[in-house]
């Protein structure tokens, strides 16, 4: 056959004539590719139904032994139907609808699905038994990395590509009164009842259509489906999400829903806060364990019925059916109607069993317990159900195992109030009983939601106080009729076969694990990996538990299950991530910086100019002329009230009682463990009005810190704190000519040194902008003014400074120049020159800390630090070879490589033409003049000398006082 010869490829050999419940659109045909060949499908087909219609039976190879695998459940869980679609791995092809042009491939098969060389693993199976890798590759130790590389080659999965585009995924929130999980009859009926009782309902269905199992039922079932679907549609209080799945239930009914198949979005995570959660996922049909149970052609009754009724695909030609329930019997009828020859029906209710299926690449014959052997290409099993209680368990409920019905059943006594189970998961019964039950549950869910809403709304400040009070909710619980439980034989295994199809774990592996001492279900799980694959136990848990129970001689109830956890169905990372909401912050001058080639620096949320090309030149201009820097990110808190001075005295280590209006002061805050927290200056603008500045990175923390002390320790103090960091654009005008520059633009402030001295604050007009705050301070050690001006005018003033100062040679400078300038001046940076354990005295704050104050935050620890002595100290250092700049974090060592400190800041000083540093050293080395050894990252040692001051430029502070 030639590539692309679609006519032959599609075949449609197994496609039946029109079926009453079919979901395919026969009027249209689309084309897609399977392992390189073209196939045809109808819209509405899943990938697998289209392939099955074309007569394909093998879709994958198994995890360990590379056994051929086909269709088992024909839904999302189908372990043999995980395929690669384009660049998307592990696509659930029995759920995913075919799209035109899809490129579908089988995973981890080489050279092809038909002839897979790794199938030799199957022959070696007896040596690859469970846990084999713990028992081998132990010696010689040096070969293990090579073994490991080989093991990794065997990973059974799809592939990701480095070129995959990050598509558009997003999220939304929803606040329904009632969330209904599952759109089968139970879910639909509960949703309608809840909506009619006044609740806003969100109804979520994993499949593409509402209806649940009714979709593949008889005429009556389909009629009921249509009726319920119509009721749902006409109920305005119900929002329906199909092709969407409830993936997890978290504290306080916080529920994740994955919404797929949307027009604008690849996938959307809906985050739901539901007042009531109704769990209506139906039942999952359980596979039967016997030898050969994984052969293509062995399938569940629901799979066969889906194929026939939904997709009009004939599942095989000649079938054996193992039936233990009415659904199995219905499957027999469906098969007959579809023209499948029924070779035999083994009725498990009468003790008949299948013990083995034989065949190469697919079922060829089946052996029954009575020894008979029947030729066939299809074996359909209907041996019972697993209750997918996952969401209930996540909510803290404890479903109990009931042997007479051979499944776990929810226990309302151990289910939280906000969660109700309904439908097949809760019990059996006629469709009428089911609807009656669902109706009661829906109304009860609405009632509980209303009650909760009433309670919560009482606490909400957002509703008008004079509005009519919410009607008190109905209080009497709706009586919920019991659903009967239909007896069902316990059918878990007859001979050894596969239990976890995805993980290639057999019942024999489980028994072996138990014998080796892994004798609880949790240890068995981890030793064998049963239930750890893509279905997460929905298909395999009960069989696993039953086999462990048998092997240990305990009952299933005693054995218990492993823990159910989210995700109920796997969720793409894209959907979980959604749009990236990472706030960023810009100063008003940002457009100017961008226009003038500033190199951006990401500093927390702020984007700042690191430099404008040449930081050393920027430094030189500040030292010789004038420069301006955008320091808007500096934290600013507006403090007002009669008790501000008390607050400052409490939070800063130094004294604040006598700060005159118009003065500013530097202060350091420590935490109660004496560790340096933040520093900055605070100025007094009026009687009861102060402006506090903090470090840029500490702004948010300091605000919360201040509020904490005010709200919890001193609620009686009259202080109001307003964060005004970005209410002001902040510009530092620095350099010997800064006064001259500012003088040209300033009104209402006498800038002469005798009128506006160092450490003073004035308010006035700059470049026509009123209400500017000017502080005569600076980080650079030069004459400088920090102007805080109403932020909307930031760009205006900045541009005016640049224009007006052109003849003075004004330049903008960035964060890097500022770091150099401050290092020359010996100012430390909290968090760089200090760390999480640096207490006040270590940071060299001895003269600032006033232990004679009655109290301040950190005082006791600082007092003990002073008393104890012997602490490390922050010091200035000069490398003896001034050309060597030891990288920051270089270690200071003493004999034998003992660490005695480290360089915390280090730069080449453009002003001095040599390297300068700050560092922390052990107390014995802190004396000025001490020579220390610095180990450079390249292993060389260099000498450095401790200096008397932290500052290397103008230690006396002459320049800033002019």
């Amino acid at each position: 056959m030639t590539q692309g010869s679609t006519a032959t490829a599609t075949g449609a050999a197994m496609r039946l004539g029109p079926q009453p419940g079919e979901v395919i659109d026969r009027n249209r045909t689309i084309e897609f590719r399977w392992n390189g060949r073209a196939y045809q499908a109808h819209p509405g087909d899943t990938i697998i139904s289209a392939l099955a219609a074309a007569g394909e039976r093998v879709f994958s190879r198994s995890y360990k032994y590379h056994r051929p695998r086909g269709l088992l459940t024909a839904d999302f869980l189908d372990p043999g139907c995980q395929l690669q679609v384009g660049d998307e791995p592990n696509v659930r092809a029995a759920h995913r609808l075919v799209e035109a042009g899809m490129d579908v491939r089988s995973q981890n098969t080489w050279p092809s699905l038909k002839f897979d060389v790794k199938a030799v693993n199957g022959l070696a199976g007896r040596f690859l038994a469970t846990g084999f890798y713990y028992k081998t590759f132990i010696k010689p130790e040096r070969l293990w990395p090579a073994y490991e590389r080989v093991l990794r080659k065997f990973v059974h999965a799809g592939e990701v590509s480095p070129d995959t585009e990050h598509g558009y995924y997003d999220k939304r929130y929803a606040h329904p009164d009632v969330l209904v999980t599952g759109g089968g009859p139970a879910g639909m009926a509960a949703a309608v009842a809840a909506a009619r009782a006044g609740a806003r309902v969100l109804l979520v269905e994993e499949e593409h259509h509402l209806g649940g199992h009714l979709r593949w039922g008889d005429d009556t079932a389909r009629a009921v489906r249509a009726e319920l679907a119509e009721q749902v549609r006409s109920e305005p209080g119900i929002e329906v999400l199909t092709d969407s799945v409830v993936v997890g239930r978290y504290d306080d009914n916080w529920i994740g829903v994955m919404q797929r198949n949307l027009p604008h979005v690849v996938e959307r995570l809906v985050k739901v806060r539901a007042k009531s959660l109704v769990v209506a996922p139906g039942l999952v049909e359980r596979p039967y364990v016997f030898t050969g149970n994984d052969l293509p052609g062995v399938m569940l009754s629901t799979a066969a019925r889906r194929l026939i009724n939904l997709y009009a695909v004939k599942p095989g030609e000649r079938a054996v059916v193992l039936s233990a329930n009415p659904e199995g019997d219905a499957a027999v009828a469906d098969l007959q109607r579809a023209g499948v020859e029924i070779a035999a029906v083994a009725d498990a209710r009468r003790g008949q069993r299948v013990v083995r299926a034989r065949g190469r690449g697919g079922v060829q014959s089946v052996e029954l317990a009575d020894g008979s052997r029947i030729d066939c290409d299809l074996l359909v099993t209907a041996v019972g159900w697993t209750a997918p209680t996952s969401l209930l368990n996540m909510a803290g409920a404890r479903p109990v195992y009931r042997p007479e019905v051979a499944r776990f059943v929810p226990d309302p006594a151990h289910t939280p109030d906000g969660v109700l189970a309904v439908g097949g998961i809760a019990g059996d019964g006629t469709l009428d009983q089911l609807r009656e039950h669902a109706d009661a549950v829906g109304r009860e869910a609405a009632r509980r939601a209303a009650q909760l809403a009433h309670r919560l709304h009482g606490a909400l400040p957002t509703r008008p106080r004079d509005a009519a009070p919410q009607p008190a909710p109905v209080t009497d619980p709706v009586p919920i009729p019991e659903l009967p439980l239909a007896e069902h034989p316990e059918l878990f295994f007859s001979t050894h076969g596969f239990v976890d199809f995805s993980e290639d774990v057999s019942s024999k592996d489980l028994v072996t694990a138990v014998k080796e001492g892994y004798d609880s279900v949790e240890l068995v799980k981890r030793y064998t990996t049963a239930t750890m694959g893509p279905a997460q136990g929905k298909l395999e848990t009960v069989n696993t538990v039953a086999i462990v129970a048998a092997a240990t001689g305990r009952s299933i109830a005693e054995t218990g299950t492993t823990t159910w956890r989210p995700m109920y169905a796997p969720v793409t990372l894209g959907a979980l991530a959604g749009r990236s909401f990472e706030p960023i912050r810009h100063s008003p001058m940002q457009p100017w910086h961008e226009r003038h080639g500033a190199t951006p620096l990401v500093a927390g949320q702020w984007i700042r100019p690191e430099h404008y090309g040449d930081p050393a030149a920027e430094v030189r201009t500040v030292r010789s002329g004038v420069g301006i820097i955008d320091v808007t990110p500096i934290g600013k808190l507006d403090l007002r009230g009669p008790d501000v001075a008390k607050l400052l005295n409490l939070l800063y280590v130094n004294k604040w009682s006598k700060l005159d209006i118009g003065r500013v002061r530097y202060g350091v805050m420590c935490a109660d463990d004496g560790v340096v927290l933040d520093d900055g200056v605070t100025g007094r603008l009026g009687d009861d009005h102060y402006l506090m500045s903090t470090t840029s990175s500490g702004a948010a923390t300091v605000w919360e810190w201040v509020e904490n002390w005010l709200q919890t320790e001193h609620p009686d103090w009259q202080v109001h704190v307003t964060p005004v960091t970005t209410a002001y654009a902040s510009i530092n005008v620095a350099g010997p000519r800064s006064r001259e520059l500012l003088g040209r633009l300033t009104e209402g402030v006498d800038l002469r040194p005798e009128a506006f001295g160092y450490m003073n604050v004035r308010t006035g007009t700059v470049a026509g902008v009123q209400d500017c705050v000017l502080w005569r301070i600076g980080f650079t050690g030069e004459l400088s003014y920090e102007i805080h001006l109403p932020a909307s005018y930031g760009l205006h003033v900045w541009e005016r400074l640049i224009e007006t100062g052109a003849d003075l040679g004004v330049v903008p400078f960035g964060v890097e120049a500022q770091r150099i300038l401050r290092l020359e001046k010996g100012h430390f940076i909290v968090g760089q020159d200090t760390d999480g354990l640096t207490q006040g005295y270590t940071a060299g704050l001895g003269s600032l800390i006033k232990l004679d104050k009655a109290d301040f935050v950190g005082k006791p620890e600082l007092a003990w630090q002073a008393e104890r002595g012997g602490y490390p100290q922050l010091v200035g250092l000069l490398p003896v070879d001034g050309d060597v700049v030891p990288p920051e974090a270089s270690q200071i060592i003493t004999g034998g490589g003992h660490i005695a400190g480290r360089i915390t800041s280090s730069r080449m000083s453009p002003t001095l033409g040599r390297a300068i540093c700050l560092g922390q050293v052990d107390s014995g080395l802190a004396e000025a003049g001490t020579r220390v050894t610095v180990r450079l990252p390249d292993g060389r040692d260099v000498e450095a000398v401790i200096t008397a001051h932290h500052a290397q430029v103008d230690p006396e502070g002459e320049r800033q006082r002019v």
Partner: protein, 222 residues
């Protein structure tokens, strides 16, 4: 205007700018540069940053609150006679935000200071016009848009017209006021100035599926 504001080419005027980039045409409006764009879309976003924004702090449930007419959690128009043409938002326990027409911050501040003095309580008034960004979303889909970025229940039962709350919007602390305009659902969003551009961009992105468009500033905006 001072001498300093005159250059050789004539007077330069101070220009106030919002942190949010404005689409053309840019037009001056009472000292601010605003967008003059007009949109007839069913869902629009408008930058209202130029409005006067004044914060008041005083005891909760005291005389100041009675004078302002809006308790925490609610917004009131013309709450007090002195505050005609403003929107008073009960933005926190003992905290109010007063929004007023462009250029009126000074007056409003004075009036509020008067109210506080009269009340005889410990209270303070801070002009935050330049410290915050303000946006308006308008259109029936505004709640659907907001539901993509804000976890608070936007139904009438919880946040009816006039509701005010502070919460996280696109991961940014934001004051939200439900302020239906002319019977159309509408929200005011108020955040730190420096993140205004970020918030506007996040809303435009979230609103794309609803056909959101930018509508320029129109007086009085409030």
């Amino acid at each position: 205007m001072s001498d300093a504001d005159r250059s050789a080419d004539g007077p330069t005027v101070t220009i106030a700018r919002s942190p949010i980039a404005a689409p053309e045409p840019l037009v001056p409006h009472r000292g601010w540069e605003v967008s003059g764009r007009r949109s007839a879309a069913a869902l629009t976003i408008t930058d209202l940053t130029p409005l006067a924004k004044v914060a008041v702090r005083a005891p909760m449930d005291g005389a100041v609150q009675r004078a302002l007419g809006a308790p925490f959690g609610r917004a009131a128009r013309d709450g007090a006679p002195a505050l005609d043409g403003t929107l008073v938002v009960g933005s926190g326990p003992g905290e109010w935000l007063v929004l007023a027409p462009v250029g009126t911050a000074g007056e409003v501040r004075e009036q509020l200071a008067g109210i506080v003095t009269e009340a005889g309580e410990f209270g303070t008034v801070v002009d935050l016009t330049h410290g915050r960004a303000l946006l308006r979303l308008r259109g029936e889909a505004s709640a659907d848009l907001l539901a993509k970025v804000c976890a608070v229940d936007l139904s009438d039962a919880v946040t009816p017209d006039g509701a005010a709350f502070r919460s996280s919007v696109a991961n940014l602390v934001t004051d939200v006021v439900r302020d239906d305009a002319g019977g159309v659902r509408s929200y005011l969003l108020h955040c730190e100035r420096s993140s205004g551009q970020y918030l506007a961009a996040a809303l435009l992105d979230a609103g794309a599926e609803f056909g959101i468009d930018v509508d320029g500033f129109r007086d009085p905006g409030i």
